[in-house]
């Protein structure tokens, strides 16, 4: 199936409905008799709630009900899905995350009360008449202040603001390597807090059928089964057979729609209370202060080198912001998705990393495109560049000298992971050639004539995708398995429906997965349908995040297909009156090689459902198989990005002159979709590097609470990208795939900042934090000139 199979740039099936405005999103659903929920949120970052007077709201026009935490006494707190242990073996502090504030509010936007009314406007009008008596407390916003003795506690029952104090690696060996090193490079940096901004705001509709006792939650989720498990088992006490979670078309997630949010609980629970469907849709202002934010690390990193520029040891210390409460996967992001990536592409023999997770009076922080891996890559590629500058080495050469070599795989890093395959120099070489690295000096001279500063920056990243195997992540604190499931249902006339636990919210699964099926079964691409997002339809699946869908979800599909083919061979053998061992399956035909005997896939399907000539005594009728796949290891996409910038020293404006990406994603199913994914990731990474900065004032008010102040990247802010690939196949899944969703956002921030600092080196600037806004760049130049 060359034109629709693996490796073909097939146009996305789903785009026809999306570009026609015919997508079906949660907010497009309106259920008969529904009421609208408005959530009253805290205007304060930290305050005791003395009392809540809802009497006027209850009497408001169109009001159906008003709820506060007192009404929800039977409802549990929002659970955290990952438990991290501190260096001393103690479990992380896990304060209750109430659905509605219980006695205290802890961030601007913390839900306090909910009003249900016939219309959204009526609900909002009534909510404005709720009188909350707040006793405003000092807010703790800055992590470095939060960890000092005597700082205000976000959670009184925790006592300090430290959630955990975690470490990874051999500290003694690292300290010794540092004490004997030829050179030590040091860097303090900040990984800036980001606000996700999926184009579709979150939405949730709860529905209750009192006749059957069945609850349904329609929600903007990346993983409906995870929400069903968390909400059903831990929050509302609903048995799973009485709870359906449905995530239809979802307009972008970037991680922010993985997590279980209070609003999902509120609408589901309230639907049962008022026996009517309850709908809530966030407006954009609410999204800014209620979607989990990303990143937000303050880090010191040191690299020890010998006289030849070989890395001897890496040491890192980080404060990671958790925000006011632990969001679903927050604890694992700065630990197991961060510390374990610190080897990067290098054979650094010893590494030690320690991370203190910190509570502050800010919106909870959790996984955002890349989740921990961008933070690891950023600090590593920044310190490698600092070391190159310190040692007077070329940026490419220092990396080349320290790369893990192709013959060293599988490679055990000093931070727990085993990389299975890779060829890092191949990606570096390709990227350097595309970027005309050798010709940089002449371009720099041309910029100089125009009064501009030109710089070039390299970042060689690695990421770990798939998050597996389940027994390993379980031992690291995951409270869930991280396999994926798929059911392949062959219909009697040979078309195929695939029910996948992966969830598509922009990735193009309906196309990519159909290509895999088309290739494996040799059937027409258009006769394959990919079904996802509904716990009533799909097998128990873990959803989409961490660039896992093709590597884990795709493998589950392949494994189910293998079972289909195996059964098909049995049926074919019976029909062709030969032994099963003689049958081969190729190009959609079951054949007996060397003969003219064959049966088409569709004939076998029909025989399975109309089993008139069928080995009924040995084989069940029907052709439907399910597979659960638990990966043996992470997958390890890697690559090198080269960014070239031109800085206007008069204004501090950074223009990205060119950006070249070379990625090794293993086997690529659909090059066009992969290129699109890389483009999107690069834009988000460049957004982090140049534009996006979540900003709070000292009182915990969100200053960047709208698009007037939070800068999303626009098309004009980025160049035309050059995107290319190299291929080393993943060794432990049958497709040889690695995953591509996050790479762009992981590798690009350090490439951009290294390029800017390369440009600014001629005016004496040696460090710069993201986002490198014009003001910040201008200030850095000015400060360097003053000193």
């Amino acid at each position: 199936m060359g034109d629709t199979g693996i490796g073909a740039s097939v146009r996305r099936k789903e785009d026809l409905r999306f570009v026609q405005g015919a997508g079906k999103y949660t907010d497009d659903m309106n259920l008969a008799g529904q009421v609208h929920a408005y959530i009253l949120r805290s205007p304060h970052a930290h305050a005791a709630v003395r009392s809540i007077d809802t009497s006027a709201a209850r009497a408001g026009e169109g009001v159906v009900a008003v709820f506060t935490s007192e009404d929800m006494a039977e409802v549990g707190g929002i659970p955290c899905g990952w438990q991290v242990h501190s260096k001393d073996g103690s479990a992380m502090a896990e304060p209750k995350h109430p659905v509605l504030a219980e006695g205290k509010v802890r961030h601007v936007g913390d839900p306090v009360a909910v009003v249900l009314a016939e219309s959204r406007t009526q609900a909002r009008d009534a909510a404005e008449s709720i009188i909350v008596d707040y006793d405003v407390l000092d807010a703790v916003v800055d992590m470095q202040v939060a960890v000092t003795d005597g700082a205000t506690s976000v959670h009184d029952d925790v006592g300090t603001n430290i959630c955990y104090d975690w470490g990874l690696g051999d500290k003694e060996a690292v300290d010794e390597a540092f004490s004997n090193a030829h050179h030590v490079s040091t860097l303090d940096l900040v990984n800036n807090r980001l606000i996700p901004n999926a184009i579709e705001p979150r939405c949730a509709i709860g529905d209750y059928d009192h006749a059957t006792g069945q609850f349904t939650l329609h929600t903007t989720s990346q993983n409906p089964h995870v929400i069903r498990l968390l909400m059903g088992a831990f929050v509302l006490g609903l048995p799973e057979h009485k709870l359906r979670v449905h995530a239809p078309d979802v307009g972008g997630g970037f991680g922010s729609k993985i997590f279980h949010y209070a609003e999902e609980i509120i609408v589901t629970w309230a639907a049962g209370q008022v026996n009517r469907p309850v709908k809530w849709t966030a407006d954009r202002s609410e999204s800014f202060q209620s979607d989990a934010h990303g990143r937000d690390h303050v880090t010191t990193v040191e690299l020890a080198l010998d006289e030849n520029g070989k890395f001897l040891a890496l040491r890192e210390s980080t404060l990671a912001n958790m925000g006011a409460y632990l969001s679903t996967f927050a604890p694992c992001v700065p630990t197991y998705l961060h510390g374990t990536l610190l080897a990067g592409q290098y054979s650094t023999p010893v590494i030690y990393c320690e991370v203190k997770a910190v509570f502050t009076n800010t919106v909870p922080v959790d996984a955002y495109r890349g989740a921990g891996r961008p933070e690891a890559t950023y600090l590593l590629e920044r310190i490698v560049q600092v070391a190159a500058d310190d040692m007077g080495m070329d940026a490419a050469e220092i990396r080349r000298r320290n790369f893990i070599q192709p013959d060293e795989f599988p490679y055990q890093t000093p931070v727990a992971l085993i990389y299975d395959t890779g060829n890092y120099e191949a990606s570096l070489d390709k990227a350097l050639e595309a970027a005309d690295y050798a010709g940089f000096d002449s371009r720099k001279a041309a910029s100089q004539l125009a009064g501009k500063l030109r710089g070039i920056g390299i970042a060689s990243y690695i990421e770990a995708c798939g998050i597996a195997p389940s027994n390993v992540v379980g031992s690291l604190g995951a409270r869930a398995g991280l396999y994926e499931a798929a059911t392949v249902r062959v219909n009697p006339t040979g078309s195929v429906s695939v029910m996948t636990g992966s969830h598509s919210h922009g990735q193009g699964h309906e196309t990519t997965f159909a290509q895999v099926v088309s290739e494996k079964l040799g059937i027409d691409f258009d006769s394959i349908d990919i079904v996802h997002g509904d716990t009533d339809k799909i097998p128990f699946g873990m959803g989409t995040y961490g660039s896992r869908s093709i590597a884990v979800g795709g493998t589950a599909i392949v494994n189910a297909i293998d079972k289909i083919v195996a059964k098909g061979k049995k049926i074919a053998a019976h029909l062709l009156e030969t032994s099963e061992a003689d049958i081969e399956f190729e190009n959609g035909q079951f054949v007996v090689p060397g003969t003219d005997k064959s049966k088409a896939f569709g004939e076998i399907a029909l025989a399975a459902y109309v089993p008139h000539q069928y080995p009924l005594e040995e084989l069940e009728p029907g052709l439907e198989e399910t597979a659960f796949y638990d990966p043996k290891n992470f997958t390890f996409p890697a690559g090198t990005y080269v960014c070239e910038v031109e800085v206007d020293p008069d204004t501090g404006t950074v223009d990205i002159a060119s950006f070249h990406a070379t990625d090794d994603f293993g086997v690529v199913i659909n090059p066009m979709i992969v290129e699109g994914q890389v483009h999107g990731g690069l834009v988000q990474g460049i957004g982090q590097a140049l534009l996006e900065g979540c900003s709070y004032d000292d009182a915990g008010q969100l200053l960047s609470g709208s698009y007037m102040d939070y800068t999303m990247p626009r098309a004009a802010d980025v160049p035309s990208f050059t995107v290319d690939t190299t291929v080393t196949e993943c060794s432990h899944n049958p497709l040889g795939v690695k995953g591509c969703g996050e790479a762009g956002a992981i590798g690009s921030p350090p490439a951009v900042i290294n390029a800017i600092l390369n440009a600014l080196s001629e005016v004496g600037v040696t460090n710069l934090d993201m986002p490198a806004t014009p003001h910040r760049v201008w200030q850095a130049i000015r400060d360097a000139q003053a000193s």
Partner: protein
Amino acid sequence: MYAFDYKRPSNLDEAAEMLRNSDDAHLLAGGHTLLPTLKQRLASASDLVDLAGIDELKGISSADGVVTIGAMTTHAEVAASSEVQNAIPALADLAGGIGDPQVRNKGTIGGSISNNDPAADYPAALVGLNATVNTTSRSISADNFFTGMFETALDDGEIVSSVSFQAPSSAAYCKFPNPASRYAIVGVFVAQGSDGVRVAVTGAGGSVFRASEMEAALNQVFSATSVADIQVSDEGLNEDIHASAEYRAHLITVMTKRAVDKANG
């Protein structure tokens, strides 16, 4: 958004009467500030009086070197107008750089100047070109029209009908945009007119102002080098998460230099 009555008069007298007979009416022009503010419930109105149906507020005319732009003329219309492009290309250029295409197709010159956002572009053009604001009751010079942050000389019930611009011998506008909102962090409009050089600065202060030191230097020699070494005081300038007062002061010099170079072609 709180409830309000929507009214659409067909002439200025009718509009004035609606304003008089209402508790708390707001005029609606392009609505780019008013509607988001209403939606966020940061403002409310008993009535919105939509000026979109009043033909006498629309259109661009040109006579004797004076270009007159009706208050309800959109930014896109100004940008595309051959009269404006011929007489004052810098004004067409400024209008074509406001916001984005959606904003330019709805936003109006009358709405912009009546709102007097400290970071709006048009106030710099009006002051830089020594324009005249014509209202339902009088004519006001641009220097006297913009009185402070979101404040103008307009009386209650007074409606801007048009703005008249004398064509300068040369002019240019350079803006350093806020990266998020694309409003001006600093915008400088430079013009050589019959009364000498004017340098009008928007975005940097509470309201548009003239940079007199720059004007004096440029009246000597109209060249970027004349202003290159002038350091503007940052006292009283705006400060926010995007730019310090010091940075804004610096940008005034940079944008003035660039505007002069641009005016000199």
